[in-house]
């Protein structure tokens, strides 16, 4: 539709300002040609068994094709070729389908990359759709380094309480497993969760563990938390932090 309007626009402009008919022909031909290539890319992706591999291939090819769309100058008028609506819709629909399938299968890379993108670009509604699959995947995960992204996605979703109902205890559990698998930053995230729960002892315990690659938020600065504790509490938390099996100082449910 947009392509059609662009062509009509050019024709209308042509009658007024001398934009030549050949420009509109070029727009139409380009749109049709590249639209055809997009539909071929959609068909090629369907041949792949792995939904995330299909997603990545289609996304990459569609971007490359879109990058070849050109703009033409008329007299004082610039018009750009666009992909046909049905081609654009097909790509969008297939990408969403592959994403859902990959996450439902527990694909750790799909979960990590999708969560990161949706969290940064305000994809709350989409994240809420995918949340049950992400949490299922986290429940099944064995806890290797490959599962860090899955645990972080599950933990941060449960902590935020936007895509799913808030569960701070569950969030700490998943992020602790991410930390155990080698993700330094999860220690800082857990400390922030405990600050949010007004549990300063456990916030301090995890702020001590936030070292190396872990970046401490101002809310979990070690000295600031330590100043809120008596010496016995400081010692208790430091002893707990040194025991790598401890998740938190024992809590009342």
């Amino acid at each position: 539709m947009k392509m059609l309007l662009a062509v009509f626009g050019c024709l209308a402009a042509a009658s007024l300002a001398g934009c030549d008919v050949s420009t509109s022909e070029r727009l139409t031909r380009m749109s049709a040609k590249l639209g055809g290539e997009v539909m071929k890319a959609v068909a090629d992706a369907k041949m792949l068994q792995d939904p995330w591999a299909a997603h990545q291939q289609l996304s990459s090819n569609a971007r490359a094709i879109e990058g070849r769309l050109e703009c033409f100058d008329g007299a004082g008028h610039r018009v750009c070729a666009e992909l046909p609506d049905d081609a654009t819709a097909a790509v969008r629909s297939e990408l969403l389908r592959y994403e859902s399938e990959a996450i439902a299968r527990g694909d750790a890379t799909a979960i990590a990359e999708t969560f990161d993108r949706l969290r940064r670009y305000e994809g709350k509604a989409r994240l809420a759709e995918l949340a049950p699959s992400i949490l299922d995947a986290a429940k099944r995960a064995k806890g290797t380094m490959d599962d860090i992204g899955t645990f972080r996605a599950a933990g941060l979703m449960l902590a935020a309480g936007e895509a799913v109902q808030r569960d701070s205890n569950g969030a700490v559990g998943y992020l602790a497993r991410a930390w155990a698998a080698g993700d330094a930053q999860s220690a800082g995230d857990i400390a922030i969760i405990f600050v949010g729960m007004n549990d300063l002892r456990n916030a301090y315990l995890w702020s001590i563990r936030c070292v190396g690659a872990c970046r401490r938020d101002y809310r979990v600065e070690v000295d600031g938390l330590q100043r809120r504790l008596l010496p016995a509490a400081v010692k208790q938390a430091q002893t707990g932090a040194a025991d790598l099996a401890v998740v938190e100082l024992d809590t009342q449910l």
Binding site: T144, A176, D250
Partner: protein, 219 residues
């Protein structure tokens, strides 16, 4: 006559000053339990309350507890920053060997402290929980193929209580009030052992390294 008036005036001034000195409590003692402390008839600012509360509890109290409780408080203050707060007093109330007079005194101080200021002004003491867990045989760093067996018990206020545990792919069996968790991990990764007793939870992180390499990629 003028000398008499002057003398009487001087006597009056001295008496007035003595009454004032007596009424101020000679160092800021509160006049009764449960009322806000005042100096010069106005409420202390938050920072002044913090300074006030950093003084010994026994010095500030209008009455004294038994010698035994006073000793406990003094020892606590000596081992810490020189004062105790609400958290310590609440923990003290859970002792079984307190007289009713001591309980009344401690509760009175708790009420007074709470009435005087924001509890967040106080430093947090070590966490205490009436339920303690014991993980006998816990080996947090395992290899694939190791046999993990831990016997978990729990006590509430010193008395054993039933404990339940969960660990993915593990065999969990009850042995009286204890719980035995047996597991032979077949894949590397991390697991969460979660146990509950009397409304309390205790969790432990277990790490499983590939067979033959406990140090590879693990903390």
């Amino acid at each position: 006559m003028r000398l008499l008036i002057s003398t009487l005036a001087i006597i009056g001034l001295i008496s007035c000053g003595a009454v004032q000195a007596k009424g101020s409590g000679g160092g800021g003692r509160s006049t009764s339990v449960g009322k806000s402390s005042t100096k010069g008839g106005y409420r202390l600012s938050a920072s002044a309350r913090r300074m006030e509360h950093r003084r010994s509890l026994l010095e500030r109290a209008p009455s004294q507890p038994s010698a035994k409780v006073a000793q406990v408080i003094r020892e606590r203050e000596r081992s810490g920053p020189g004062w105790v707060g609400t958290a310590f007093l609440v923990a003290l109330l859970s002792r079984h060997d307190l007289s009713s007079a001591d309980r009344h005194w401690i509760q009175g101080r708790i009420d007074a402290l709470r009435a005087e200021g924001d509890e967040e002004d106080y430093l947090l003491d070590a966490a205490t929980t009436p339920v303690t867990f014991d993980f006998k045989g816990l080996a947090p760093n395992l290899e694939v193929g190791d046999l993990f067996a831990v016997m978990v018990g729990a006590k509430s206020k010193g008395a054993p209580v039933p404990v339940t545990c969960s660990l993915d792919e593990a065999t969990v069996t009850r042995a009286g009030l204890l719980t035995k968790v047996s597991w032979e991990p077949s894949e590397p990764g991390s697991r969460l052992l979660t146990c509950e007793a009397a409304g309390h939870q205790s969790r432990r992180l277990l790490r499983v390294a590939p067979a033959g390499d406990k140090s590879l990629g693990w903390r």
